[in-house]
Symmetry: D2
Subunit: 457 residues, 4 copies
């Protein structure tokens, strides 16, 4: 027996009911559903539809249900097809026929959109906090690892030396963009659908949607009732946010996985963040990082799912929209685990500074060699070519740039003088990159300060 | 305490364990895991690694576990990180230290690939059966609805009349392609990874992988151990199969949704396959069809997920591969519900023949008018233009083609003679399309026969 | 001969060059590349690296190239691998060896990111204008079609009557969200990468990136040089914006396609926005709407592409990033056509008011019947059930609700009185929905005003 | 002036025409279109619709057009909306009004499906050849690099030693699966739509579709005319094939990128397959490999595009289907470049055997240590734990397993005897993995033989 099928000739096919029922996932909106109902009852009262006493009894009943939910005492019934039905059924058990007045002037269409947005706002707050935790872990690393010089890679070939702190901060800024986007998702979610009915607006003109919005923490009611029941932009935005964050995490994870290989050896993960092998006794594997990398695929798939579901839906509310919630819930759950795991992993990993130092290839200074010639008036394009020949000459002699004698330099180009040898110094190389955003220690200090400031905001 | 961390300095971080543990989803491979282990024990025995008595005790223990699983008595422990660990742990409880011999020469890498493929073969069989059920429902409709003439649409504009049976069969053939692809997925899954160890092959040369393959129902062992542990093509093929099937179902669902609208009114769904509204008392909604349409988005998203996860994985086995199972399981579960629901819905829907008949637009015969002129020697391109003018003329007079008097026809083109009026007959129009694959009743009868034959195969 | 391979042992494999060269698509950044170079030359001068006269000659050369580009006189050479190389090559031809000084302190990595962001800012402006055009077309329809009452659908079943103007506005608000998101994309694009070098920051500390940013219209320099060269969030955000807009357009297109069918007949497209059939003379097809619907798939695919490309990239700049531009360019081109086409189609379509009116099903007033009982004190849940029985009773008698005599109403429930018949009036039904966002004429007037205001912003 | 709009009140809106016209991409089907038309004319003749002489003139005209196309002399006109229109227009210019007879009994719906499938069959053949080329390059490497022992990785941590040849072959088998799938795509494409008309079947019953199929190289006609014009499964299958192949290539590319890093140093790419840096003179970058990795994202996006386009299309032919071709053409073009580039890169790269040898970590033999204990009767699970402690002991002493003295072994477990030291030998370790599919030289030889055999097929 459903809310709507008193006049049906047959009950729903059993498997169809399994396809149809959303309770297995939307029960997670229980608290929000009750909160929304309390506010709605209050709006019905102000609109003259519920008596004072009726309101009190309904609110008392809903409050009892809230307690049952929070204490894990609420029992779902097989006949409950969704969370709204379950709560209304239970309210009837608690307060009797009066419960039948609660659904006056509203529809499950505006109700579920309201519940989902309420949940979204809370979830954004929780995830922002987890994201901040990860950003703080990156800041902490940037501070802790101060002074370590890392090979900077492009095309995963050594390119130019950078401060490890600078590298950590590069990841900080990507996450900072994610955080700003998350704030936008929350803001966009805070528009109230309730009072839109099934699609045409509530049938009771005296319902005050602005007060409802305020009471439930929304910034304003959605200005069009049709749009209100079919808009899932906030869910799509959330999934895009999650997918792009997932991509950022996959990039960081990939780098860390490579840095933990025997061949790089730049970092060592704490045992608490590694696994072993059931077969090979010597293994320590960076499983959490691999799973974080894989989750980007999971999150991208969720986004594809929702966008494809929404494609071509013709009317105000189509049942297809029910499939909006599983991908969103799963994305949120994924990130609620991934973010703190990665924070913990960063907080506990060990930097192998000596190994990093040994890995630096002096030919990374070739750009500085070219710049040296530029400062002597040689056009950069020509200087680039000269520097390339110096690198080749050194390689053919089996020497690093640091070991190449001055006459070899001068054999390539007469503009090289004694001072070129003093150029071959990592600190010097870093120091040259002191323009805003560069890897010179002074510039990175300023960047660190800026990062702290934006995060405090 | 895990299988592999006796020598770890700390236990795994708790949230990391939650990210890492696959038991919540791979417990579904329990039966397959035990079956694989029984076969493996037998192979170890044949290879001289297990004594006869050891084999017997291990097999007895595993058989007991199989019973526990099948009877729902098996209890998982919080320390079980995956199904392999859980079974090995339980075997130890049942038969003691001897259980520690079972993992000899194998790895969870080849074990899970084997379990997953075993599951896939069984699942393909079950889904093929469900798919056949849907194909039969379409065949039954084609037979039941014989004689009903439906407007055939292109661009969702009425185009040419077709037999409703022909239209049902169009959907049959799409599903037949799906069924053939499903058979290929099953066949491609039937390659045995077991005996590949972690990646380099089992350390025991006497293991006979061909016998193992035969015993477990595989067609042959995978010929390369590295490939064996990282190949997930069969899972990707399955998800593509599911996504394309989902697309086919969405197309059928979309058409049926439109045919149930008040404006079309071609079909009426049985109450058992509709839902009502919590707010609007008059509503009967085709929810199952909408959900089926939406599921195509879910299935496409799963495919995207797996392909994106696999992208760029560099080594034999990476932990990312663990994320292969949830999308596959969810896709299979989705279709295991959707296919029979749609079959049931088709079996019970009612065709509103009268309404369909009234909806036919006589201008759909315009092509036949042009063909009439072609038979009189007028090039088709010119005939097309003449017929268009006839249609326009009738429209401007507010008449249907059937009502247009002969002199009006002749005013447009003198080649029209009395016999053009006899052309304006639906049966005649259908009968003309008697070439193989056309909508003439005779051709459709042959097609129906062919459909029955391929399905019997 | 490339910029970088003076010291290469062999030239690039020919097919590899075809894979590698980005000129076929990045030549579209030519203007932006020159503008960026002019600003860079100026920054080099201020930093003391270029003499006054050198700057003047370089700027003059670049200005000449700008003219050549704008007048279509610029000729690309087979050796040009990308737009940066082409411009530098041409500059050398125009001003000689001095051209070799321009690339001092910058890399193609920061250069292309700068060009791309410049292009993005301009493109956002153009697309915002096209989007506004479409929003205005919707507003115009809402005004023109004032007073037409449309069946409002949920599950594509008639649900409740709504003003057609209200329905057009529902689509307006979805686009308004798109417009706000587009502004955010533009804002997020306006961060300057130039001065970041290959990844470590420019080698010349005196380069003033803040002045550069201002000069080129950016709001600020990117604060981390590594992030600056590998951040493609702005491109991903743009593609998400495009995909979600595409979804919104597909929903509107789908509804319009259905409204143009013979069965609905609500609207007629202007001939300029339809096509015919090469075979069937009577056909008029809504091809542009179908293509618009299909483009949502194209746009979702582009988003998937970029996110998947970015997944797992480990280092500052990887060549994979070169594949960021084709999807973005194609998405922008698609929308630059689709938006004005849809605007034109809306501006010219004809509403068939009479047909729409005839299609209205009186049972859409069943909710109002239930609400009538609510006002008589009957709990809504019970009222819903009573109203459902009334609808059934009327259907079984073959009458519409309007035709059902009072004693039949009263036979179902005694609370019905004479005044229930006056309820059965569409205007009355609309008027009841006067709460903010509802479909009552007064509420829609206010909504229209609000829409005009936000668009004027 | 289009084929179909003689009776239109206005010409098509200009931008709409740009959206609508498919000529920019479908001109690539020109040859197939003419071939199909020649066969169709022949079928019309056999069906008694064209006279012998008419057939001859039409075929002569079409042959002339074929020449024009093949010699690049064919000129498209602005009014040509698609390739079919262009060919019919040109035929009219060449042979006059008789050209108007060619379109008798067919529609562009069945025509384009036929053209596209013809193109697909040819393209599959070409791509299979390119794929074979790549498989041969892998086989050649497996032969050339015989004897090199590579660290085998799981989780990108050294796991167990494998033959490099074995590793190359792992990639061979993935491609072999791709090749088998490609054959299936070709086979599934070889069903003839021609003769299905717009959707209901050709209006001329005497058309012999079986002969048509044979003449054009199809295996049979599609058995249902509605299905024939809307089935795009073959295109979706092709894109899935391409996406999964792309994923396989990305995995190989990723590994090779890592092997070319300074830190691994396992391989050196030939200069013809690397690029340099415009800024950093020392750089040699593996750009082609990075682009190949990125292309997997491009290909996955194309698949998503087509599946999403197809989702929910309700009728036989919808214009949305026109968007099927760009993703397919682009995917084919991408692979037609990528496959030979990767073959060339493999054929020319240099293996740094010495460097590979030095990188081998002796602790990779830990599994063999455990297996040693197993052979002494110790259960594997216990042996695993003992071996882990040996590895730890060696690490704590700063020794490799090879350097650990016997008494240290025995201190961990008394079962170790002198012979354990002889275990520590790479050849021995490989030799143990002689079961089918393992990395023992003998097993790999057999595998190589098998690979040669399947490829010869």
């Amino acid at each position: 027996m459903k809310l709507w099928n008193a006049h049906w000739s047959t009950s729903m096919d059993e498997l169809t009911a399994r396809l149809n029922d959303s309770l297995p996932f939307d029960q997670r909106l229980a608290i929000q559903d009750v909160r929304g109902s309390i506010a709605w009852a209050s709006a019905l009262h102000k609109a003259g539809i519920l008596q004072e006493g009726e309101l009190a009894r309904i609110v008392a009943g809903l409050s009892q249900i809230l307690d049952e939910l929070e204490e894990g005492r609420f029992t779902f019934q097989p006949s409950d097809e969704d969370i709204h039905t379950a709560i209304e059924r239970r309210l009837g058990e608690v307060i009797g026929a009066l419960a039948g007045k609660l659904h006056t002037g509203r529809s499950r269409n505006d109700q579920v959109a309201t519940d989902f947005r309420l949940w979204m706002m809370e979830t954004c707050d929780q995830l922002e906090s987890a994201l901040c935790g990860l950003q703080k872990a990156l800041l902490a690393r940037a501070e802790t690892d101060w002074g370590v010089i890392l090979p900077g890679y492009t095309h995963f070939q050594q390119a130019q030396p950078v401060l490890l702190s600078h590298w950590w901060l590069a990841h900080f800024w990507a996450l900072e963009r994610d955080r700003q986007r998350l704030k936008a998702v929350r803001e966009h979610s805070a528009m109230l659908p309730l009072g839109s009915g099934a699609l045409a607006g509530t049938g009771f003109a005296t319902i005050d949607r602005f007060t409802l919005a305020e009471q439930l923490g929304f910034s304003a009611p959605v200005p069009n009732s049709i749009d209100a029941v079919c808009d899932r932009d906030f869910a799509a935005e959330f999934l895009f946010w999650a997918a792009l964050l997932g991509v950022h995490l996959s990039r960081l994870a990939e780098a860390l996985i490579l840095y933990t290989t025997r061949e790089f050896g730049f970092i060592t993960l704490d045992d608490a963040y590694t696994t072993g092998s059931s077969l090979m006794p010597q293994k320590k594997n960076p499983d959490p990082l691999e799973l974080i990398r894989a989750k980007s695929g999971v999150l991208i798939g969720k986004l594809t799912t929702l966008l494809t579901i929404l494609k071509g839906l013709p009317s105000a509310y189509d049942k297809d929209l029910q499939e909006d919630k599983p991908p969103v819930f799963e994305a949120a759950d994924t990130l609620a685990v991934v973010l703190p795991v990665l924070s913990g992993l960063l907080n506990t990993l060990k930097i192998n500074s000596e190994r990093i130092h040994q890995s630096l290839d002096w030919s990374m200074l070739a750009t500085d060699v070219a710049d040296y010639l530029v400062e002597k008036g040689i056009p950069f394009r020509q200087a680039h070519s000269v520097a390339a020949r110096v690198v080749q000459r050194a390689a053919s002699l089996g020497l690093s740039l640091r070991e190449l004698p001055l006459d070899e330099w001068r054999a390539v180009h007469p503009a090289f003088e004694q001072d070129v040898l003093s150029l071959l110094d990592l600190s010097h190389c870093l120091d040259r990159r002191a323009a805003f955003g560069g890897t010179a220690p002074g510039a990175v200090r300023k960047q660190l300060e800026l990062a702290r400031t934006v995060l405090a905001d």
